[in-house]
């Protein structure tokens, strides 16, 4: 992961998605109108967050297999970057909601799932800070991280499908795949998802390296 090509690829894909997202033709839909372009920025944040949380959980599992300290630092870096992506997704979503649904916040299963996810990961960071012993801190937070990820998937993946939602694809609202994510939107959307995931990994790696330097400084 030291090589540069995927970082450059990520930046290029994001640049492409910003330019393409603002200029390429989009379907004209009622209510949504031009705000549909927010799809490239709002939904991609969630994809990026989920992937970063997944990497964080994988690092936690690998930590429990051998108790290698660096894995714990990596898990923390991925989780905090994912949290930041989630915050951006929340903000873009709130702005979008203001212009389409009329309020910044509605009582919607997906929004509840998001709020819960944020709370779960905030609790994860609080847990990390409240264990003094470093060995048991790493172990306890790895366990909570795995538990948190599984529960998060249940909340945002399973629970919204059991109830109605304002979001597309639930409770009679057709999904994007059905009618409005046409081929020209896909041309921007999928590269944007990959680009933001790559950027997220890059940021997480930088954060991990800073943490490692701090860790080494404290222990030297």
């Amino acid at each position: 992961m030291q090589s540069k090509w995927w970082k450059i690829l990520g930046i290029l894909l994001i640049l492409y998605s910003i330019i393409g997202g603002l200029l390429f033709p989009v379907p004209q839909l009622n209510i949504l109108n031009e705000t549909i372009r927010n799809l490239y920025f709002h939904v991609t944040m969630w994809f990026s967050m989920i992937f970063l949380m997944l990497f964080s959980m994988i690092q936690s599992i690998r930590f429990l297999n051998g108790f290698d300290k660096t894995r714990d630092l990596k898990a923390e870096a991925y989780a905090s970057t994912g949290m930041f992506m989630g915050l951006l997704g929340l903000l873009t979503g709130m702005i979008w909601a203001q212009f389409t649904w009329g309020t910044f916040w509605v009582n919607d299963p997906k929004l509840n799932g998001t709020a819960v996810t944020m709370l779960i990961y905030l609790a994860y960071f609080i847990l990390r800070n409240s264990v003094e012993n470093e060995d048991s801190r790493a172990r306890v937070s790895a366990i909570y991280n795995i538990l948190a990820f599984v529960m998060m998937i249940v909340f945002i993946g399973v629970l919204p499908r059991m109830t109605d939602s304002l979001h597309p694809g639930n409770g009679g609202n057709p999904a994007f795949g059905n009618y409005d994510l046409n081929s020209s939107m896909r041309m921007v959307f999928y590269p944007a998802v990959i680009g933001w995931i790559l950027l997220g990994i890059w940021v997480a790696q930088l954060r991990y390296r800073v943490k490692t330097l701090e860790f080494n400084k404290e222990n030297s």
């Binding site: 509840n112 609790a123 409240s130 795995i146």
Partner: protein, 218 residues
Amino acid sequence: MFHQVKELVLKDIRLNGRERNALYSMLLYVLSTSYVAYLSFEGVIDKNSWVALFWIIVLFAAMNACLQSFKKELNEQGLFFYTLANPRAIILAKTVFNSGLLIFLTLASYLVYSLFLGNPITANISFILCIILGSSALASVLTLISAIASKTNNNAGLMAVLSMPLLFPLLLNLIQTSQICLSQNNLFLAGNQLLFLALLNIASVLLSYLLFPYLWRD
């Protein structure tokens, strides 16, 4: 393994029988919160708020009940337990015991609560099923969380912070299921929700089973 689980559950039951004030204090908690709810909501409560208030009372009672689960196991005595039993047997036994305890507590609070505030539930079988599945799901999540929280300095405060977001969707699901039980006396209408509760039970028990040994070894 199963023999160990059985013995550990019996040990917990015997310990609780010997120190009964823990159980009495939980029952008193349920009684007094129900009475507070009665004083503040009598006459003004509608069916949906009845359900929501009931599950909130149960949630806090459950958190209180599970808070001390690992008081004895994860200190010096823990080393002794470690030589005696498989950690997986310990967590399974705790989960079984806490599930039993919470099912009993929830049924007790259902009784007390409906005594004070009336009982609008029409689908009794579904609601009892919902109580049993819901309490055991609460117990299995809270048992693992209390094991995690007992490793930290701020046990009680952290327990609430860690478990509340994890239990929030479970609580929403319980409230939804109970609201279905308010209107129709049909087992199949709440079937999907009950299935979800059962799956959540299985998932959280499986996670405790897989993760607890790592927490245990220190």
